[in-house]
């Protein structure tokens, strides 16, 4: 698949940064497909782990989206996070021997964009249930039910900024769990 990921993704991403939810969903879906290709290419021997790593990386991308500098290429930022997650994965699993390609020598523009979901082994939905009640509720309200932050705040009696913090902390905790249980 010839690549204009930078062109397609960056425009969507900048819209998403300014609060466009539809653009953000498309951007994350595109990023997920690229990440799947990125990890598949590097871990052919353990494809079971690919989707887990895609999901963990998506969570990190979301939590870290403020660290993207709009003056720089988006794919460089995305690949740096993917690379960091991949190396972290190898380190955690002591599987550096399974690495049959150099991490950096791939022309990313030639990578497949893999659209179909593989099966993740860990279920983030189940992990959600284990979050502290306030964080779980804030995530359920805003991210599953789609209430506005103001509505969720009114429902829980917390301030809007407290709701935002709970959502962020909850997602951080999920990411940490994914990382420790992998």
């Amino acid at each position: 698949m010839s690549d204009d990921l930078e062109g397609r993704l960056r425009g969507l991403w900048l819209l998403a940064q300014s609060g466009d939810e539809v653009a953000y969903r498309s951007a994350l879906a595109l990023a997920a497909a690229r990440l799947r290709g990125y990890f598949l290419r590097r871990m052919r021997t353990q494809p079971d782990d690919v989707e887990d790593l895609v999901q963990e990386t998506l969570l990190t991308i979301h939590l870290q989206r403020a660290t993207y500098d709009p003056a720089l290429p988006l794919t460089a930022w995305l690949h740096a996070i993917a690379r960091h997650k991949f190396i972290d994965f190898l380190r955690r699993h002591g599987r550096s021997g399974a690495l049959h390609d150099s991490i950096d020598d791939v022309d990313e523009t030639l990578l497949p964009v893999v659209e179909h979901d593989l099966t993740a082994r860990r279920d983030i939905g189940k992990l959600l249930d284990r979050l502290p009640a306030e964080q779980r509720q804030a995530i359920l309200d805003t991210k599953i039910e789609g209430l506005s932050v103001a509505e969720s705040a009114a429902r829980s009696g917390a301030s809007e900024s407290a709701v935002k913090v709970r959502v962020h902390r909850g997602l951080q905790r999920l990411t940490a769990w994914l990382r420790s249980e992998a």
Partner: protein
């Protein structure tokens, strides 16, 4: 949960990204650290009563520290983000130090014979670096805490940069107390204090700044 469901969860009600989020977070930490260090100076050894009468040497000193803080702050910002090159920012730090080295050299060369060592050592060379490093500690802690929520490509580099910025903040607070006026003194001993802080930052950062 399927990945597509996760994508939808993450996007829903995601809201906009606060502009200049990283810069503001780092600047907030540095400023809070400066306030703490300034209070420590005022409550502890006290402000140099002749500070207002120091004139040009004070301005040179503050210009160096300010430029070092800006360059180190830029480097910290670059190093706290994944996949962002930091060579230009690192070069700017070097440029600031070299500029001060040029000024120091001029004053050393143009000084009367026999004065060079007092220009270099002043009367407080043995305490200055420790004072600067000590006063950088609150800022270093706050900056590392802030960067822990970001995503540095290298914990060691980000920790070094944060330590350098904290060192410049510590130097600024120390300059309230310090009576030295020679650029060579400031270059060598203030920078040594900032370097101590940077090395501490690198050592801590390589362990702490993982994500």
């Amino acid at each position: 949960m399927k990945t597509q469901e996760l994508v939808e969860l993450l996007a829903r009600r995601a809201g906009p990204v606060a502009p200049r989020f990283v810069q503001r977070r780092l600047a907030g930490a540095a400023f809070a650290g400066l306030v703490v260090a300034t209070i420590v100076v005022i409550a502890g050894p006290g402000v140099n009563p002749q500070l207002g009468a120091m004139g040009a040497p004070l301005i040179q000193k503050l210009a160096y520290i300010g430029a070092l803080a800006l360059a180190a702050g830029w480097l910290t910002d670059r190093a706290s983000r994944p996949g962002v090159p930091s060579a230009a920012a690192a070069a700017s730090v070097l440029g600031v130090v070299l500029a001060m080295a040029g000024l120091s050299l001029v004053t050393l060369i143009s000084a009367p014979a026999g004065q060079a060592s007092s220009l270099l050592l002043g009367s407080s060379w043995s305490t200055c670096p420790w004072g600067v490093a000590f006063l950088s500690l609150p800022t270093l802690g706050l900056l590392l805490w802030a960067i822990r929520t970001l995503a540095p490509s290298s914990g060691r580099v980000a920790g070094f940069a944060a330590g350098l910025l904290a060192g410049a903040v510590g130097a600024l607070a120390y300059s309230l107390y310090c009576t030295e006026t020679s650029p060579a003194f400031v270059l060598v001993w203030y920078s040594s204090g900032a370097l101590l802080s940077a090395l501490a930052g690198a050592a801590i950062g390589s362990r702490l700044l993982t994500w």
